[in-house]
Amino acid sequence: MATLPLLAATLLLLSTPPAAPGTGTSGDPGPVDASRLHTVGAAGTFTTITEALAAAAAGDTVLVAAGVYAEPTLIVSVPLTLIGEEGAVLDGEGERGILEIRSDSVTVQGFLFRDTGISFTDDRSAVKIDRVRFCRVEGNRFEDTFFGIYLANAGDCLIADNDLSASGDRETRSGNGIHLWYSVRVRIEGNRVRGHRDGIYFEFVEDSRVSGNDSRGNLRYGLHFMFSDGCEYRDNTFARNGAGVAVMYTRNVVMVGNDFDDNRGGAAFGLLLKDITDSSIRENRFRRNSVALYAEGANRLEVESNEFVENGWAVKMMANSEGSRFQGNNFLGNSFDVSTNSRRAYSTFSGNFWDRYRGYDRDADGVGDVPYRPVRLFSLVVSQNEPVLVLQRSPLVFLVDLVEQVFPLLTPANLTDPEPRLLPLPNPWRIPS
């Protein structure tokens, strides 16, 4: 174990760019050495960023003063730090991608990227990151970019605190906010994404982490990921997206503490799960979605300690989903708690709180003595004949549901919560207010 620190130190040394002669004499990191700092702007050494990038060597810093820079697509091919001062604008003039990172260890921060125009043939992006590692894109703004930040074959990158807003009106004319393709160990933190096609898009990404982001008002999905095993999504907010969040063809996903709000519409889901295996969905909040959680071919999920409030359908579980466990969730004010397309149940529910539960608790242990049956007959009727939905809350429907509760004929007989809670479970994630 003693070799570990040594190893780390060696790595650190190796990854530090070689110092230029005459620097680093006193071990004082101090301000950046003048010869390694290239300023761009009216008062700077260079007037264009292109010239500065051409002159910069590995490890240098390019500092860009306020102003609008409309240059041919900038290409960064050595490890350097590119910093925009307040008011530094990189303009694509509706015609081109703005910045391409083609070297490891590049940092870009503080810029406003705007107006790339639309092109599908080259996946037009404000920042394109291709085949590199250790990049950082932090604290930038993106306005009316087609793709905002586009990573392909990237590794160990950090995309943090960026603000992306597009004004796409049609799915076919807009790109994704933060787009990842074949990447590993990327962290996406604290970004805000608006008005794109998909807010955050993952395909063939591994071991990455998406946390503290706010993705709302996007045309399709707030978060869309496919074939991305072992990724973690934590404390994000996905709201008012055209179709919510979609998670497909993936295993070992962890989704914790996210908010899924107001994703409404005919094909809108808080969280759509398709062919997902061995994943954990914990401590999330689903509010006012048309369908909060939709699962198709989703197997062995742990759905635990979530809160479902005022959704149309809290859980829609197709019969090709098996072996999932719903435990300790709160179901409050949903039009339908659970709906399925089968007479059999392949998942288990236990210890949840259901606001429709009308059972009793004679031994006063907080657990109802009568099992709760979350599938209403009416939800079955509606799933076969949607317009009947307008009879929701009719006294007649109430009677029909009551009869079915007592003599279950059509709803899945074994889909019950044998230990329904009498009081809502405390929410570990809720901020006291």
Binding site: R264, G265, G312, N385, V388, V390, R393
Partner: protein, 262 residues
């Protein structure tokens, strides 16, 4: 207007003096308070309250109106022996029933809600319920009057009132459900919405759905529901339907009242 006011005033006081109205307020007050405070906040209380309003308000309104109209028959005859316009007399009687009934309901619903700090989350739902309940009161008062002026015998009139309530509150939806089931292969959304607008109890219920189940309604794939429930259109149409349901039977009742031979 003087006559209307006098009749209204007298009947109003008569009604207030009776215990029934206070009981009605108390009933809704207790239900609202209980559901809000013991049931776990507005999210859980509103659906139960909605069911209660949809069932109880029409029943009470139609029964109180018919029995009261029969009960005040002698008073009406007495007044008619004086030079009093029948239209004005009717207006006075009608308002003297609907205003206290709607008022009693609104007080019962509103006071516990406002006294409890009016939990902000439920305000929209409570307003929807209040409006739906008040309009349903007017609708079933109109129907009650129509029955009272059309059927001479009080027992038969009260029976008919009960039947009308049962038909509109429960049986109608049963028929709709069966029809929808039979015609499941056809595009039904417009027809279903139209069927709902034809029954005042369903209209009241649809108004409450707009507050309570809008997420589900917008989840329906057809565009008709989205347009109806997604904006102000649905609210306006539903309110118009309820007003029509209050005005038309009242107008018919007035017509009969004008020509009735006492």
């Amino acid at each position: 207007m003087g006559t209307v006011w006098k009749v209204f005033h007298y009947q109003f006081r008569d009604l207030i003096r009776g215990r029934a109205l206070a009981g009605y307020t108390l009933f809704f007050g207790a239900a609202t308070w209980g559901l809000l405070h013991l049931g776990g906040g507005p999210v859980r209380a509103l659906p139960s309250l909605a069911t209660l309003v949809i069932l109880v308000v029409p029943l009470v309104s139609i029964l109180v109106t018919t029995t009261f109209a029969y009960g005040s028959e002698e008073f009406t005859e007495l007044l008619l022996s004086h030079p009093v316009g029948r239209g004005r007399l009717f207006a006075g009687l009608y308002l003297a029933l609907t205003v206290p009934l709607a008022g009693a309901f609104l007080l019962g619903l509103g006071i516990p809600f406002l006294a409890g700090g009016g939990a902000a989350g439920g305000l929209g739902g409570m307003v929807a319920l209040g409006v739906a309940g008040a309009l349903l009161t007017a609708v079933f008062a109109s129907l009650g009057f129509l029955i009272a002026v059309s059927v001479h015998d009080m027992a038969r009139g009260a029976g008919l009132a009960l039947l009308v309530w049962l038909a509109l509150a429960v049986l109608y939806d049963g028929v709709v459900l069966v029809v929808a089931h039979q015609a499941a292969a056809y595009p039904l959304e417009r027809i279903m919405l139209a069927l709902m607008l034809l029954n005042p109890v369903d209209v009241g219920r649809v108004l409450s759905l707009m507050a309570l189940d809008v997420s589900a309604m917008l989840g329906y794939t057809g565009a008709v529901f989205r347009d109806f429930f997604g904006g102000a259109t649905g609210v306006v149409i539903a309110l118009a339907s309820l007003v029509a349901w209050a005005v038309v039977p009242a107008w018919l009742a007035l017509h009969r009242f004008r020509h009735k031979d006492f």
